[in-house]
Each structure stands twice: as structure tokens, then as C-alpha cells.
């Protein structure tokens, strides 16, 4: 089975490719660059094309699939058309697939399910990374705001933190937001 993965995120494409190779599917080609995409796909003549739903070039690809002589009448599909829950999970994950006519359902299903799992895992990883990054940034702002209070108001660390926490509770904001506001004010007021 020859598989093409079209994804503008090279990292995600690599994660899916790795998963396919682990299951013994080694005829996999990645396309991460839009340029000449349609003619390169036609030259490859894959049996299955995996593409993310937000890719802006799906319409171009579908045009190719409608007219191509090299690729045999592929249709857009999401896992098993008769399985509504599976289809919804594919769309939730953001992956779509084109499968050539005549390909057996039992051969396709594991490929699509793997793509969905990897898409979801990748999205989770990215969300965790974003969260970790913003947690780091928050902690940094709180630390700097504490040091500012300690220096300007002569507080000790515990009192500085308590002051930030009280201001946050009083105004219904997060401590990091209050810390940010304090740092911004300090910057604007130039130490007045």
C-alpha cells in the first residue's frame, strides 16, 4: 500500500510516518511544501492520501483526483462511512483521507485509525507544550513582581507574594495577570 501524507506541519507528518512504519507500512512519502504538490502527487500515484482538514489545498487535490488517469477514482473518506462515531472522531482529530477505488476496507481502516490517533496525540503534545510554556512565563512574571515589591516596599518574600495574591483575589484575576500589570506599570512609570 503506497501512502502519501500531505501536511504543512513537517513535525506532525513525521510523527504519522513513524507510526505507519512501525506497523510495517514503509511505502510512505511526505509532502510538506505546497509547490508543485498536485503534479508530484500524480507522479507518485498513491493508494491512500492523508491530509489535514485545515490544509487550504484540499480543493486543488480533489480536482486532481477527479481528473487524474494515474490515480484510480479516489473518494474522500473518513474511516468507515457507516460508522458515525468513527467519522466524527476523524473530523475532531482534523484528518481526512482519499482512498483509491477498490481498496479493501479492512486494509484501510487501521491506517486511518492510526492517523487519527497520531493526529490527536500530536495535538495533545502541542497543547501541553503551550501550557508548559505559559506556566513558565507566568512563574517568571510572579518572581519578578515579588522582587519588585521586596525592593520598593521593603517586604519579605512571603509578604510580597501575599500582597500579589490578595490583589488578584480582590480583582478576580490570576496572580500572573496582577504580576504582569505591576511590571508593566513599573516600566511605564519608570521607577517613580
Amino acid at each position: 500500500m503506497r501512502i502519501a501524507i500531505i501536511d504543512e506541519s513537517p513535525a506532525r507528518a513525521a510523527v504519522i510516518e513513524e507510526g505507519l512504519r512501525e506497523t510495517g507500512l514503509t511505502d510512505v512519502t511526505l509532502f510538506t511544501d505546497r509547490h508543485g504538490l498536485v503534479s508530484r502527487i500524480e507522479a507518485l500515484a498513491p493508494d491512500v492520501i492523508l491530509i489535514d482538514l485545515t490544509n487550504p489545498h484540499r480543493d486543488e487535490l480533489e480536482e486532481l483526483l477527479a481528473v487524474s488517469r494515474a490515480i484510480s477514482r479516489p473518494v474522500a473518506m473518513f474511516v468507515d462511512q457507516s460508522d458515525a462515531a468513527a467519522m466524527e472522531s476523524a473530523i475532531d482529530a482534523g484528518v481526512s483521507a482519499y482512498v483509491v477505488d477498490g481498496m479493501k476496507k479492512e486494509r484501510i481502516k487501521p491506517v486511518l485509525e492510526l492517523a487519527i490517533r497520531r493526529f490527536n496525540a500530536f495535538a495533545r503534545l502541542r497543547a501541553e507544550l503551550d501550557e508548559a510554556r505559559s506556566a513558565l512565563a507566568d512563574r517568571d512574571a510572579v518572581d519578578r513582581a515579588k522582587r519588585l515589591l521586596m525592593k520598593k516596599r521593603g517586604m519579605d518574600e512571603a509578604a510580597a507574594y501575599a500582597a500579589l495574591r490578595k490583589a488578584a483575589m480582590d480583582s478576580g484575576r490570576k496572580i500572573a495577570e496582577v504580576a504582569d500589570a505591576l511590571l508593566t506599570a513599573e516600566k511605564l512609570m519608570g521607577g517613580l
Partner: protein, 400 residues
């Protein structure tokens, strides 16, 4: 409040669902709309077909293609409301455009077509024209113009698909020689100096059906009141769209990052039918450029679906067949439109189909309620389309 998700592509003619939400018309009907923006019609269509959205802004022929199962397993869609007529233009690279028109105002579309046919036939390499989707009114209107102008759209030129946001770039880097696309993408190409507008699709067909509101037929049957409420909200949004006093407000809403993420000034040009044909020219008022409300423009005439099906046959996208013709016509749902708008007391046509291209002068028509005058809906070659005479229409189109 009932929540509804509506898919759309960032185009000026996605205006009515966006305005229905932002101007409170949906809320007044008890609907809380969530607009879901995508970058390809394929994804807008998939979300609708598989229940990720409740309704969608869609190129009209795609609703028919999805129903007939072209490129996807067939799933019946219904169109109870037309989101607008025309609003597209044909923009060519400046040196090519200079051989066709004066680049300042609308020219004689038939003469431009004949001239383009000469240029295309003598070109050293085949000219490439970009359209936004295989199953789009852009593709069918362009093909109609080329056919009537003496070209074979499959042999004499290459027609390729380009997503609207990339159309201007494709023109700039020589990937294509011309594009047929909706606003604001022609204006973007003109603004960058990479294209000149040579024609508007309203010159090819004065009242050409463009975007529609599509819903799953199954869903529409299960919850008709939901569709009716949405149709009323969209109708009110249409009234606001054509109110000149609200132009600035509308353009600013559409330009927001979560909608078109573009220039309010370029969007205002399209909304108010003031078109800039080439960089450095003055804007020209083209009265019929975009038609979003007047003359019952939102009414889904069955004959519009029939015309699109005829063009799909001419393009070889479907084999003419009476069962498929019937299924294609059934996609457009004037019955739902009438029921939805009856409480508003606004003018609604009594007939469900008409002779397309048959109105030369403003004409009063029979209505289910209210008074209605339809303006000229001519095709540029004067041909008429009678949905009862599909076979002879197909036979009589020029085969070049």
C-alpha cells in the same frame, strides 16, 4: 437560544450569516450562531456532511455535487436560501488584460470574449485560468463564456483549481494567466498590481446564482423550525446589507480577523458595487456586481439548480440522466423558503421555476404574498434556459 454552527470561507458573500450573528438578527430569532471558518470548500462540505456544522455557506454547484455523490459517497443536501447572486470577476495578468479591455470600466463582454479566444488560440503555450473549485459557479460561468466565445474550455485553455486566498499569488508568480474568483480576492490582485479585472460574472449572466445556504436534507426534515428561524435571520441580514447607511459598519464587521481578516476598504468596494478595475484607476459603480437581497435574490429557484446541472453535463462532470436531473433540482427548496418567510409578509415568488435569461426588462411576477418586480436576468449571448427542455439546450450549446 438554540446553538447553530455555520461553516464559511472568508469571502465577502459569506456576509449574511456573519451579519445575522453580529447585528443581532439571529438572536432575535432565538438562535445563537457560531461561525466556523475554513480554508477549503472540501472541509466546509465535510463538516456539514458529517454533522460538525448545522449549515454552511457553499458554492451552489457543490451542494448538487455532494447530493449526487461526485468525489464523495452521496449525501442529500438541501438549499433553502440563496446567499447571493454574482459578485465574482475575471482578473488577468496586466499584459494579457491590455489586449482585451481598456482596464478602466466594464467593456463589451462578447467582444472581450472573442478577442480572448483569438489570443488563447494563438498563444505559444496554453493559457491557464484558475477557478476556485471544480464544482463552482465560477467554473461554469467561465466555461459558458469561453464556449460561447468560440473556445473549447477543455482543449483550448487549461482550467485549474486555486483556493481563493492563493489566487492573487498564483497570478503574481505566473502559475496562472487569469483567475475567476470572488471578492475581495480580485481587488487584492488589482491592489498589488498583479492583475486587471477584464470582466465580471454579472456580465455573463446578470442574475447568476452564486453562494447558497446548504443543510443536510435529513436535518432539515427533522428540525424545520430551526431552518425557518435561520432563514428569517438571514433575510433580515440581507435587508441590512443593502442599506447604504450601514456600509461602514458592515465592512468593518466583515474585515475582522475571525471573519475575512482583510481590508475594510476593499470589502466596502465590493459591498457597494464600486469596482477598481486596475491599479491607479478610479472606482466605477457596477450596479449588478453583487446581488444579495433585492428582487427576491435569496429565493432558491429550482431553475437555477437545473441550469447548474446543465453546465455540469456540458463540462462532463455528470452524465445527463433523468433521475440525476430530478435529484439535482430537488436540492433547491423554494417550499422551505416560502414557509419560513410567510410570517414576515415579504414578497415571495409564487412559481418555483422560471425561464432563466428570459427577462429583458423589469417585470412584475406572480407572488405567494407581496409585490415583486424582477430585473433583467439575461445571459450575454441572449440564450435562454428552459428547465423543461434540458436535452435541446444541451444539444444547442456550441461544441467547439
Amino acid at each position: 437560544m438554540t446553538a447553530m454552527r455555520i461553516g464559511f470561507l472568508p469571502l465577502v458573500d459569506a456576509a449574511l450569516p456573519i451579519l445575522a450573528r453580529e447585528m443581532g438578527f439571529a438572536e432575535a430569532e432565538g438562535l445563537s450562531l457560531e461561525l466556523v471558518r475554513d480554508m477549503s470548500w472540501a472541509t466546509v462540505c465535510d463538516r456539514l456532511l458529517y454533522g460538525h456544522s448545522d449549515a454552511a455557506h457553499m458554492v451552489a454547484p457543490l451542494a448538487i455535487a455532494a447530493t449526487l455523490g461526485l468525489g464523495r459517497p452521496p449525501r442529500p443536501l438541501s438549499v433553502p436560501f440563496v446567499l447571493g447572486l454574482n459578485g465574482n470577476a475575471i482578473t488577468m495578468r496586466p499584459d494579457l488584460a491590455a489586449q482585451l479591455s481598456d482596464g478602466a470600466r466594464p467593456g463589451d463582454i462578447a467582444a472581450i470574449g472573442r478577442q480572448f479566444a483569438m489570443v488563447a488560440k494563438s498563444a505559444a503555450t496554453k493559457l491557464r485560468l484558475g477557478v476556485v473549485h471544480r464544482y463552482s459557479s465560477h467554473n461554469y460561468m467561465l466555461r459558458y463564456w469561453l464556449m460561447v466565445s468560440g473556445l473549447n474550455p477543455d482543449r483550448d485553455v487549461d482550467i485549474v483549481t486555486i483556493a481563493p486566498p492563493f489566487a492573487s499569488d498564483a497570478l503574481a508568480n505566473g502559475e496562472v494567466d487569469g483567475i475567476c474568483v470572488g471578492e475581495p480576492w480580485n481587488s487584492v490582485a488589482v491592489d498589488c498590481g498583479v492583475g486587471v479585472i477584464v470582466a465580471m460574472t454579472s456580465q455573463i449572466w446578470q442574475r447568476g446564482v452564486e453562494k447558497v445556504l446548504a443543510m443536510r436534507t435529513e436535518r432539515l426534515a427533522a428540525e424545520p423550525e430551526l431552518a425557518h428561524a435561520l432563514i428569517r435571520a438571514l433575510y433580515r441580514a440581507g435587508e441590512a446589507f443593502v442599506d447604504p447607511a450601514r456600509l461602514d459598519e458592515i465592512s468593518r464587521i466583515l474585515a475582522r480577523p475571525n471573519y475575512l481578516d482583510g481590508s475594510a476598504e476593499l470589502i466596502a468596494g465590493a459591498v457597494s458595487d464600486r469596482i477598481l478595475f486596475a491599479k491607479g484607476q478610479a472606482r466605477v459603480h457596477v450596479p449588478d456586481f453583487m446581488f444579495q437581497h433585492r428582487e427576491a435574490a435569496n429565493f432558491p429557484w429550482v431553475s437555477q439548480a437545473a441550469w447548474l446541472y446543465a453546465q455540469m453535463c456540458l463540462a462532463g462532470h455528470v452524465e445527463p440522466d433523468s433521475a440525476r436531473y430530478k435529484a439535482a433540482k430537488a436540492v433547491f427548496r423554494p417550499d422551505v423558503y416560502r414557509t419560513a418567510l410567510s410570517p414576515l409578509g415579504v414578497a415571495v415568488p409564487g412559481a418555483s421555476a422560471k425561464l432563466e435569461g428570459g427577462i429583458a426588462h423589469p417585470t412584475g411576477v406572480g407572488t405567494a404574498q407581496g409585490r415583486l418586480i424582477l430585473g433583467p436576468d439575461r445571459f450575454f449571448d441572449g440564450r435562454q434556459f428552459d428547465p423543461e427542455q434540458l436535452d435541446s439546450y444541451l444539444q444547442n450549446m456550441p461544441k467547439n
